[in-house]
């Protein structure tokens, strides 16, 4: 009797709403044992802590933006036109910056044949940055592809390792010199020559990391749980690779700019009618023994230093902050 009464009591007190389908709420399902960790957010937070890097980032972004919009600003001169003094009919040769005796205003002065140095520097920065970015992108594409194959496909490992050992043993300078010596001087030649050696480092780093991470337990677990490969790649592998890839890409840009300067120096660079930072340095070098003409060396040198140091520092700091081990 009592049992039946109890059962009735229970039946009466049951809340029928408990037996309805609950609405699925993703955020609630992940409340337990799930942190709101986000890779990019943490990367950003760690990066922002480094004041020097942030300052350089702002600086380099403004420089890049400025080189992009500079030709469209009012009162800009052409980087390749030779300016002629209307009064004397002679070229404006080696006019010092903001020289008051000249009616026209040259912000950074002119070079030895009367071209505007200000316009040439920004045009040269554009060329050099274009070379740097192209090399970096090419390096990333080829390096990651080959590195991933090298790390993933076990059969290819021995073959690519042998090829790598031979290729890596050839000094980069030699490859650069011989390729530019044989081919016609142009932007594409220079980019091609730099790409021939640049991807090696990237491929090696990507391969090593993939080799290390691929068979870690958490990846094994993900695979057993049926996580799709795309999710394994984006969530498990990529965060580890981002650090290395971004570092190599960021360092490729100053290296490419430096190589361009080097090639121009030994006479294998771009033709002189294309303004580039390497060509400008060369022009400045020819006049540097005259203290009055040194501005032609100092202005391009300053721009190169700012650009290369910024990329170098930002790349390193970003690589540190993109490393998941440095995240809280």
């Amino acid at each position: 009797m009592t049992r039946k009464k109890i059962m009735n009591d229970i039946n009466d007190n049951i809340d029928p709403s408990l037996f309805e389908f609950a609405e699925y709420d993703e955020t609630k399902s992940e409340l337990t044992g799930y942190s709101n960790y986000s890779f990019w957010k943490s990367t950003f937070q760690v990066f922002m802590k480094n004041k020097v890097a942030v300052a350089l980032l702002i600086l380099i972004v403004s420089v890049v933006l400025f080189t992009a919009i500079q030709p469209y600003l009012p009162n800009q001169k052409s980087p390749t036109q030779i300016y002629i003094n209307p009064e004397t009919g002679l070229q404006y040769r080696n006019i010092r910056p903001n020289d008051p005796s000249v009616s026209e205003n040259f912000i950074f002065g002119t070079n030895s044949i009367g071209q505007d140095l200000w316009a040439r520097i920004w045009s040269g920065t554009r060329t050099s940055l274009f070379i740097g970015v192209s090399v970096a992108i090419f390096e990333a594409i080829v390096g990651i592809t080959i590195g991933a194959l090298w790390g993933y496909v076990r059969k290819l490992d021995a073959v690519i390792t042998e090829v790598y050992n031979v290729w890596d043993n050839i000094p980069t300078t030699v490859v650069l010199i011989i390729l530019t010596y044989v081919m016609k001087p142009s932007i594409s030649t220079i980019i091609f020559a730099m790409c021939m050696t640049g991807w090696l480092q990237m491929a090696r780093f990507v391969r090593n990391l993939i080799l290390i991470i691929r068979d870690r337990e958490y990846n094994l677990a993900s695979r057993c749980l049926g996580t799709p490969t795309s999710r394994i790649i984006t969530k498990n592998l990529l965060p580890y690779l981002v650090s290395v890839i971004m570092l190599r890409m960021a360092l490729a840009i100053p290296a490419a700019i430096g190589n361009e300067v080097f090639l121009s120096y030994i006479g294998m660079g771009l033709p002189i009618d294309i303004p580039s930072l390497g060509n400008l340095i060369n022009e400045g070098r020819a006049l540097m023994m005259d203290p009055n003409q040194r501005y032609q060396l100092f202005f391009p040198a300053a721009v190169i230093s700012v650009v290369t140091i910024s990329f170098y520092v930002i790349g390193n700091v970003f690589a540190d902050s993109a490393d998941p081990r440095n995240h809280v």
Binding site: N169, P171, T173, P254, Y265, I266, I281
Partner: protein
């Protein structure tokens, strides 16, 4: 032992491949490079006769065979425009000695300065010296070398009244080139010795040494330094040899009669055979340097097994 043999073989193989590629690439050059001045005045028959004389009209495999044979004899051909009809080996011989002298001097300087700076940085991690050193390393690595070489040349000649160009008989003129040459390698050594020492300092044996009551100076010198130096040993031979090749900027800036300055000159004067000889010299230097480095490192540290070297550093 087996490792040394395979390493030697691999270097030899690389060298052969590089030599062949360089040779084939040079064949793609326009033929003007084999004539020097007055090419325009020659008629077709004369050009052909000259080319035939140089063996350039033979089929490629025959050319390649002849090239290997002359290489074995130590013959790198004759210069065309730089010093016509002079053997390239003779031109290179004198220059190599000058370059090597500068190389050894600058390497000694950068080892001393670089290692001390690196140790200083590791000991005062996060303090002034570390920050100072980091700035220096970043500057030396990021900025293209020629920029600070030029600035040094401009300002130091003014301030310290040092001669602008190199002159063998003036001892003062050695200072600036050696300083310039050692700047990059100093940064390199400082950066790596600091990194390795910081790594080593976190290891258990250092903690044990400290627990035993050893002084921090003693731990540094007797334990940490030695272990940290092992990975550096790998780069020593390469950097000695690289100074022969890596001084292209410095040698031509200060007009030092070395191989680096020569390269710039002969490229501008389109001396095909001499460029080929120099490129071959540089690549063999690079390859031999890397090989010696690997061997030296395995000799330094018996724990290192190099049976599966390559890539997994």
């Amino acid at each position: 032992m087996k490792y040394y043999v395979t390493r030697l073989f691999r270097s030899f193989l690389t060298l052969m491949i590089v030599i062949t590629i360089v040779f084939l690439l040079m064949r793609m050059m326009p033929i003007e490079g084999y004539f020097g001045s007055g090419f325009d005045k020659l008629d077709a028959g004369q050009i052909e006769a000259k080319l035939k004389n140089l063996g350039l009209l033979d089929p490629l495999p025959v050319q390649l065979k002849n090239f290997y044979i002359s290489l074995l004899k130590g013959d790198l051909g004759q210069s065309i425009t730089y010093r016509p009809k002079v053997d390239n080996t003779k031109i290179l011989g004198d220059k190599l000695i000058t370059s090597l002298r500068f190389g050894v001097a600058s390497l000694t300087l950068s080892l001393i300065v670089g290692l001390s700076l690196g140790i200083l940085m590791a000991r005062h991690k996060g303090k002034f010296w570390d920050k100072f050193g980091t700035c220096y390393v970043v500057g030396a690595n990021a900025v293209p070398a020629v920029i600070y070489y030029l600035l040094i040349q401009v300002f130091f000649t003014d301030i310290f009244k040092l001669p602008l160009l190199f002159d063998k008989s003036v001892p003062k003129s050695w200072i600036l080139p050696i300083l310039c040459l050692s700047l990059v390698t100093t940064a390199y050594y400082a950066m790596w010795i600091r990194r390795y020492m910081v790594d080593e300092l976190n290891k258990d044996y250092v903690r044990l040494a400290r627990a035993k009551g050893l002084k921090s100076k003693e731990i540094m010198i007797r334990h940490v330094m030695r272990n940290a130096f092992v990975p550096m040993a790998q780069y020593l031979p390469a950097s000695i040899l690289y100074t022969v090749a890596g001084s292209i900027y410095v040698e031509s800036l200060f007009s030092i009669p070395g191989t680096g300055g020569l390269l710039v000159t002969v490229i501008q004067r389109q001396d095909n055979t001499l460029v080929q000889a120099l490129v071959l010299l540089y690549s063999s230097i690079g390859i031999v340097g890397l090989m010696l480095g690997d061997i030296l490192m395995s000799a330094f540290d018996p724990r290192i097994k190099l049976s599966h070297e390559g890539g997994s550093r």
